[in-house]
């Protein structure tokens, strides 16, 4: 099952490599990983999406917790949550295709952020499924380049991950 694990870790050199190393060392898989400092510059917030059985996910959270630099973590998929990913996608946009891509972009509430005579660069945010759906809708044949940030997540309501 797909899980989104949110981690607060010390914003120190080497902390990220410890997390990544743990995943490969223990044969866990990482689908996406995003990390940046929080409002407290001594802390980083990391979001990892991974897949595994309940047993594997339990081990992942326990092993992550064992890392000295991990301060706190939560499995967002345990409760209601919001996930977002940003995609920049460069697509061939010429002839009749040009209007069709613009329409599809509007339907997905994306924005065309750069234009040439034959290419659109589209920015799109949403959960990962939505981004996948957009690529499918316009067809991979016209895709020139895709850049995705990976998932960021946060719990709904008043739940807060902080120290």
């Amino acid at each position: 099952m797909r899980r989104i694990i949110s981690v607060l870790l010390e914003n120190e050199p080497g902390a990220l490599s410890r997390v990544v190393g743990l995943f490969s060392q223990r044969n866990y898989n990482i689908e996406t990983l995003t990390v940046a400092a929080t409002e407290d510059p001594t802390l980083s917030r990391m979001t990892v999406t991974t897949r595994g059985s309940d047993k594997v996910i339990e081990q992942i959270t326990k092993q992550l917790n064992k890392l000295i630099e991990v301060v706190k973590l939560v499995d967002l998929t345990d409760g209601a949550h919001i996930e977002r990913e940003l995609m920049l996608i460069k697509v061939k946009a010429s002839g009749a295709q040009r209007d069709e891509i613009k329409r599809t972009t509007d339907i997905f509430r994306g924005q065309v952020v750069d234009v040439t005579g034959s290419v659109y660069t589209v920015q799109l945010t949403g959960d990962s499924d939505k981004l996948d759906a957009f690529i499918q809708a316009i067809g991979t044949a016209c895709v020139l380049e895709v850049v995705r940030t990976g998932v960021s997540g946060i719990a709904r309501g008043e739940k807060v991950l902080s120290i």
Binding site: L9, R18, E58
Partner: protein, 573 residues
């Protein structure tokens, strides 16, 4: 407040931390630190012949005392040579601090001479590692290293120290930090009382119980509590390879070791139990055999300091995360005040069954060939000659299993072996670390002619520091455990498990200034051991030729349950 250079701070910190010995090898990146050590006389440095041995020496000391061992090596090859030792300590949760030199900060990343990313190299095999980025941080970083290494589930911590952090002409304020706090690290201080209550009730209701106690009992200094609990309940106790000695092996309730080469009775009891109390053990694959067939009728209570050890391989019913010592204490108190009592009738018939299993096998081995010494006989003789009271280290292989099976350890911290990683070459340096710190105790390294050659250069260190330990080399002229597997699984095709041109170990021992004794006949075995142990101030290398065809039994059958075992070459359960 004093002003000290980074190098002097390290020396001073080690003094203030109460470190008596450090083990290491000098080199370019740590010369400032070696100079600082030279200018003081409280912390004594032991010069090994290979850095791996320095780590095993520190490890032996740590296993015998429970305190963190300390290693100092230079950058690059000095640091990489420690990796096997660090991994050995990591797998067995041994507290240790390894100080590694590093090239000066300005050169890091430039492939400088003797530069290795030791933080990266060691990451998968340490509890944590730290880099010194400013000399002022040295005291706090070192304190953190000791704190992390020796609390919670212990483990090795590497500290990477770039050379410019220790330069003698810059001085910084030094104060010994009595305590450090890490917001991201807080090991459990006690177990969950509700869970302990639940477990206590289950123990009292059990009809076919067993206590499965591992290395965590020794690391957590909980031997006394374990003995108290087991005796109070009249439960049988089996130990893992790492837990030997935490429950006295000569006690009536002891079943000996369990697992791949565990005793017949221990594995039978585990398989047929209705309740397993696992204490400081981790359901290792060398214990469980096939996990899906593991102890089908048992409910499991698991006490461990590390939450990640709970239900990692085998699902447990009642997990208790906490220090084994305090959890057992609470459990004992609950059982004492409980109105319930153990089911004495059920226990009596359980013990009758156990005694039958004990009588059926009882660690027997074949001795019909009177010509050759059996390796088991060597351990039994060693046990008699040392009164069962020696510190015994071992290397890895058949001799390790024979030592675990036939030397009956009654005290914790006496059986010192590389259980998790299975590191050949561990035994001699580990014994050195113990002998150095316990000069009046008998320290024996049980080894084989394969393992001993992996760190034999340390015989030289033994001469330098006068370490009169005893080496029992069980010489079967082959890599016995490899050969056993080849006999059992590869139709006796002995690929690379035989070493031609073994050295003359007697001459070799003598060349290093020690005594060598060769033993080839059974009648000479015990007299030779007695002679060796009578030479109190000499290292004696006993080269004992044994039956090269002997196998270790019982041996669990792969992919089976715990009760599926070979009991001898042609007898199975």
């Amino acid at each position: 407040m004093e002003l000290l250079s980074g190098a002097d701070m390290i020396a001073r910190f080690l003094q203030d931390e109460g470190v008596e010995h450090i083990y290491g090898y000098p080199g370019g990146a740590v010369l400032h630190i070696y100079d600082a050590l030279f200018r003081q006389d409280k912390v004594k440095h032991i010069l090994v012949r290979h850095e791996q041995a320095a780590v095993h020496m520190a490890d032996g000391y740590a296993r015998a005392t429970g305190k963190a061992g300390v290693v100092l090596v230079t950058s690059g090859p000095g640091a990489t040579n420690t990796v096997t030792g660090i991994a050995t300590a990591f797998m067995d949760s041994i507290p240790m601090v390894v100080l590694c030199g590093q090239v000066p900060s300005a050169l890091i990343g430039e492939d400088a001479f003797q530069e290795t990313d030791m933080i990266g190299v060691s990451r998968p095999v340490v509890k944590h590692n730290l880099t010194v980025r400013h000399p002022e941080e040295i005291p706090v970083i070192l304190k953190k290293a000791f704190y992390i290494a020796s609390t919670g589930r212990p483990g090795p911590v590497v500290v990477d120290i770039p050379k410019d952090m220790t330069t003698p002409n810059e001085r910084w304020k030094y104060e010994y930090p009595k305590k450090v706090k890490l917001r991201s690290y807080s090991p459990a201080m006690r177990g969950h009382s509700g869970q302990i209550k639940k477990a206590a009730d289950m123990l009292l209701a059990a009809k076919r119980p067993v206590i499965y106690a591992g290395g965590g009992v020794i690391l957590g200094r909980a031997s006394d509590k374990l003995i108290e609990l087991a005796r109070m309940l009249n439960f049988p106790v089996t130990n893992t390879l790492m837990g030997l000695g935490c429950y006295p092996a000569t006690d009536r309730q002891s079943l000996g070791m369990l697992g791949m080469h565990g005793s017949y009775e221990a594995n039978m009891v585990m398989h047929h139990a209705d309740l397993i109390l696992a204490v400081g053990a981790r359901f290792d694959d060398r214990v469980t055999n096939a996990v899906d067939k593991f102890c089908p009728g048992a409910r499991i209570v698991h006490i461990d300091i590390d939450p990640a050890s709970i239900s990692k391989t085998v699902e447990v019913d009642v997990p208790i995360v906490g220090p084994v010592d305090s959890v057992l204490k609470e459990m004992i108190a609950l059982i004492k005040e409980s109105k319930e009592e153990v089911d004495a009738e059920a226990l009596a018939s359980w013990w009758a069954q156990i005694d039958e299993w004990k009588a059926f096998h009882g660690g027997r081995y074949v001795t019909d060939d009177t010509e050759k010494i059996k390796p088991q006989q060597v351990i039994e003789a060693l046990y008699r000659v040392t009164g069962g009271d020696a510190y015994v280290t071992s290397d890895v292989g058949q001799h390790q299993m024979f030592a675990a099976q036939y030397y009956k350890f009654d005290k914790p911290n006496r059986w010192i072996n590389s259980g998790g990683l299975g590191t050949m070459g561990f035994g001699l340096p580990a014994a050195m670390g113990i002998k150095l710190n316990f000069p009046d105790e008998e320290v024996v390294c049980v080894t084989g002619e394969g393992s001993i050659q992996m760190n034999i250069q340390e015989l030289s260190t033994c001469s330098q520091y006068n370490l009169p330990l005893k080496i029992v080399n069980i010489n079967n002229q082959s890599l016995g455990m490899v050969r056993q597997w080849q006999d059992m699984n590869y139709e006796s095709r002995h690929a690379q498990s035989y070493m031609k041109s073994l050295p003359d170990f007697i001459k070799l021992a003598e060349a290093y200034g020690h005594v060598g004794l060769k033993v080839e006949r059974l009648e000479d075995l015990e007299p030779a051991l007695k002679k060796a142990f009578a030479m109190k101030d000499k290292l004696v290398f006993l080269d004992i030729y044994v039956d090269p065809y002997e196998h270790v039994y019982p041996m669990q059958i792969a992919r089976g349950s715990m009760k599926d075992m070979w009991l001898s070459k042609n007898e199975r359960t």
